[in-house]
């Protein structure tokens, strides 16, 4: 499943032009830390998906969702003794313009979604989570429809995003 997620992230590739999104300061901080995996996909990569066409309605939905994205950044750490502390630091104030959307708590793990809205459109979706000794941050930039992203992540087996189904 992890491989699939990584492949998905590679395939939907971006340009991440915005430098002040909710993940940047951590992305830079852990740039040289081998415990962390970093993925960055540019808007150019996403724009290539506008060239694809399909007759299959499900595939069409996926392509439409992807073509509206402008960036993806992921920072994922494994075997981190202070995973919870990093998580708490990240969720304290990811970005001045972001608001908390949802929290999912479980024993030894927590997950929070944040969004940035502009004129009624979600322009950034940030997922921050920790589980025991792992921590993950994922930022999606673009014209974001939460239900479509939830459907897409379900197809691609991306952990955490299934909770977006609960957003009405």
């Amino acid at each position: 499943m992890r491989t699939l997620s990584v492949m998905f992230m590679l395939f939907i590739g971006l340009g991440m032009s915005a430098q002040n999104n909710g993940i940047d300061r951590f992305y830079e901080k852990y740039q040289q830390d081998d415990h962390f995996t970093r993925i960055n996909i540019s808007s150019k990569m996403f724009s290539l998906f506008t060239n694809f066409d399909s007759n299959d309605p499900d595939e069409k939905d996926v392509l439409e969702t992807i073509s509206k994205l402008k960036g993806l950044k992921v920072l994922s750490g494994e075997a981190i003794p202070n995973a919870k502390a990093i998580y708490l630091d990240a969720v304290k104030r990811p970005n001045a313009e972001m608001e908390e959307l949802m929290v999912v708590q479980d024993k030894g793990s927590e997950l929070k979604f944040f969004i940035t809205e502009s004129k009624g459109i979600i322009t950034e979706l940030l997922l921050v989570s920790y589980d025991d000794t792992s921590v993950m941050m994922m930022s999606l930039i673009g014209d974001i429809d939460l239900k479509s992203i939830s459907k897409l992540s379900k197809k691609m087996n991306i952990d955490g995003f299934e909770h977006l189904e609960k957003v009405k």
């Binding site: 492949m7 590679l10 995996t37 150019k44 060239n51 399909s54």
Partner: protein, 166 residues
């Protein structure tokens, strides 16, 4: 399995888009690299059409070749080669559009815009002590992109003999 998927995925991404000129950095690298030095010309790529799908041939009709070059794994300073490849591509004006960096492997995709909608694409990789680059010359016709499903992935992995990276 992780490396196999990573390599095939990156290979497919490169194959999926279009390229024109060749990178000087990759050309220089191929002169000294002692690992794989594999060229897949159009005639060979046509043989990877597992369904004999006529649209697959239309898809690749303007594709000249795919070049796959790596260092060997016997003491080659792969990390420094990888960094040199990245630096060389940036010096040539390539833009990094996808980054995947983990403790065990790295994969960067670069784009250099040419005339019109055409670009040159290069992938640099570092895994298991081996550094490598994949470059595409020519272009594919995006109208027939769905024919990509006819690409014989198993044959590609056989050609690249990448099972030992599982």
């Amino acid at each position: 399995m992780k490396y196999r998927s990573l390599i095939i995925g990156a290979f497919l991404i490169l194959f999926s888009f279009s390229g024109l000129a060749q990178s000087k950095t990759v050309t220089e690298f191929s002169k000294t690299a002692k690992g794989y030095n594999l060229y897949l010309y159009q005639s060979m790529i046509r043989m990877l059409n597992k369904d004999k799908n006529p649209e697959f041939n239309l898809l690749i009709r303007d594709l000249d070749h795919l070049k796959w070059v790596t260092t060997d794994s016997t003491g080659t300073p792969a990390v420094s080669v990888f960094k040199k490849l990245d630096a060389g591509l940036r010096d040539e004006g390539f833009e990094e559009i996808v980054t995947y960096d983990s403790k065990d492997s790295k994969c960067h995709i670069y784009d250099l815009e040419g005339n019109g909608n055409k670009s040159t694409w290069v992938i640099t990789m570092l895994f298991e002590g081996v550094a490598g680059a994949v470059e595409m010359k020519g272009s594919v016709d995006m109208k027939y992109m769905s024919a990509m499903s006819s690409l014989n992935i198993n044959k590609i992995s056989d050609l690249l003999k990448i099972d030992h990276f599982d």
